[in-house]
Symmetry: C2
Subunit: 345 residues, 2 copies
DNA sequence: CTGAAAGCGCTTACAG
DNA sequence: CTGAAAGCGCTTACAG
């Protein structure tokens, strides 16, 4: 394999290495003649820049690290949230989007806060020029402190809308509160009142989904039954257990708002065992991207996050210097409204 | 943030930069005295090697590139196979396994064969020190030629067992033929004879699953009905359509062996629309890792690939110089046998 | 607009 | 065992 460097290209094109560099980097101060000569040679012989040399010479390395925070006390449920197709799709979209700008994605997990030091190292050694952090619990001090430093980091669901206004931290939020509000309203519109909520963990998205539920209930003057509110840590199995719990109570819900896909699978399993039909006996609305596997006869109504947009905005926030450092993503409504409309009391 | 280089450390420790480098890299030919002096300074002032400089000087980074081949003529079905939790879990396992050896995972897609050049470039510029290639069609010349070069690459499902014996290419195979054989045999044991097959694409795993089906049928002296064999390219939607096709024929199958999860979702959707119950009307057996989302009342029997092992072996093959360059993985049987046992004719 | 040259921070023959 | 020096392949003032 012959490897061409700027030196080779320069010689072949009859110009200096500086000029080759200028052409490659699309600098304006080069004559059209030389631009053509250099490009012709590159097209003929092929040339790919050495990114390490580039980085060493002062240009940022074109690697973005995707940092998946997954610090779980209960090690059995490791990567509960990440194992969903939601995450899968996001990663693929991220790769595709980064590719457009000739960036590469390094994918990493943090199972322990001490591993955050490795991320700093990667910045400090110029291995990466940016990072996207996803999956942290709300209010995590270590992550907040890291992010508040000068590193080029985009955080997903780190700060509330309010907090976001008074900081320079780059952050992207899904409109979880609004999405949850709409999701619950959809149930309410169909005359449901006994609406249970199966929530996630301490991530901001969970908190917002919970708030959206509460808001919708209050808004409709429905008294909130504390026995209808369960936490299942984005775990399928916990959601299964909590659902069993829900229906072992005297007062049973007619609908459940589940805070993500994975838990919805647990809910379905439980309802199945209890011989409760969806949506005839129980209507289900969820937030996530599970249309992928719910579109198989399961009558689930799903509010989806636009992952393409999430990937796009993440990259944009990292690469372009924008005045606005915060983004909000809207949730999309999955067309198949499969909620059972209740009639009378 | 003050950044120390080998030059700074050398001055502070009163040694040469060469010696600092030797200490950092744990070379044997340094006196204990200088080792201590350098390490003391590093501990006191902090030092992190610049990875770009290192790569430029000839040392490869501790980075393994995961290359996901997804060359689809039908662009609508992009990443059909990769969007399954199967793949998700594999990536997570891979990160965890690499972490044990202080390696990082760069994740990348190849949507176009010309992009393989970028992989070569990543090797040639020392950005990466190894790669894992997954998802290619069987018999792809370009990939075979790339892999046959001196690069440190592990391929997954590139070569048949036979081919594997006469090559130095590092490759890992799932025992797909055997798994498919067992899967179909399970149906046969339950007296099924009208067994349909919904297959994937031109990947080796697909080919082997098809062969396993044929072998099981022949082995049981069941005449193969060509109308029962459908190809659905690992696409949910195609599987849906092919299933509708299957049951619009006069002769209908009593069971289906589906070559992966995603397609199984399409099959389920079709059966649901056709009002056919699983497994009462149709038994389903599949190969993949869908226990994740099938464990919710859907009576699917699943043969799973051990992804943890796949990740482990991939890393081992890349990092350790082993005499044996090929590995075979066995498929695990998902305990829930949910096949309907047929009686009489 | 263009080129010669310095410099980025490492590693590694080479000479001792 | 140790250091001076060259070299990896870029980019970027600098001078013209």
């Amino acid at each position: 394999m012959v490897k061409f460097t700027t030196k080779d290209i320069a010689k072949l094109a009859g110009v200096s290495r500086a000029t080759v560099s200028r052409v490659i980097n699309n600098y304006p101060n080069v004559s059209a003649d030389k631009i053509k000569r250099v490009n012709d040679i590159i097209n003929e012989y092929g040339y790919l820049a050495n990114s390490s040399a580039r980085a060493l010479a002062g240009k940022a390395n074109n690697i973005i690290e995707l940092v998946i925070i997954d610090i779980n006390k209960d090690s059995k449920e490791e990567f509960a949230g990440i194992k969903s197709p939601y995450f899968n799709t996001f990663v693929i979209q991220l790769i595709q989007e980064a590719k457009k700008f000739d960036y590469l994605i390094l994918i990493n997990t943090v199972n322990n806060l001490s591993e955050l030091k490795l991320l700093e190292n990667n910045f400090n050694t110029n291995l990466i020029s940016g990072a996207i952090i996803i999956g942290m619990e709300y209010g995590n001090k270590e992550i907040y402190e890291l992010v508040a430093k000068e590193y080029n980091i985009v955080t997903i669901d780190l700060l509330t809308e309010e907090e976001t206004k008074s900081t320079a931290i780059k952050t992207i939020n899904s409109k979880d509160l609004e999405g949850a509000f709409q999701a619950c309203n959809l149930l309410i519109t169909n005359n449901h009142k006994e609406i249970a909520y199966i929530g996630g963990d301490n991530r901001l998205s969970s908190i917002n989904r919970h708030q959206g539920y509460l808001k919708a209930m209050k808004n409709a003057n429905i008294k909130i039954n504390q026995n209808f509110i369960k936490t299942a840590n984005y775990s399928k199995n916990l959601a299964y257990l909590k659902t069993i719990e829900l229906f072992s109570q005297e007062k049973k819900p007619s609908a459940i708002f589940v805070a993500n896909d994975i838990m919805t699978l647990g809910v379905i399993k439980a309802l199945n065992e209890l011989n409760l039909k969806i949506p005839d006996d129980v209507s289900i609305v969820t937030i996530d991207n599970g249309d992928f596997y719910f579109d198989n006869g399961l009558k689930i109504t799903n509010f989806a996050i636009n992952l393409n947009l999430l990937a796009q905005e993440s990259i944009a926030l990292l690469l372009k210097s924008q005045s606005k450092k915060q983004k909000e993503l809207t949730l999309e409504f999955n067309p198949g409204n499969t909620i059972k409309k209740l009639v009378g009391e």
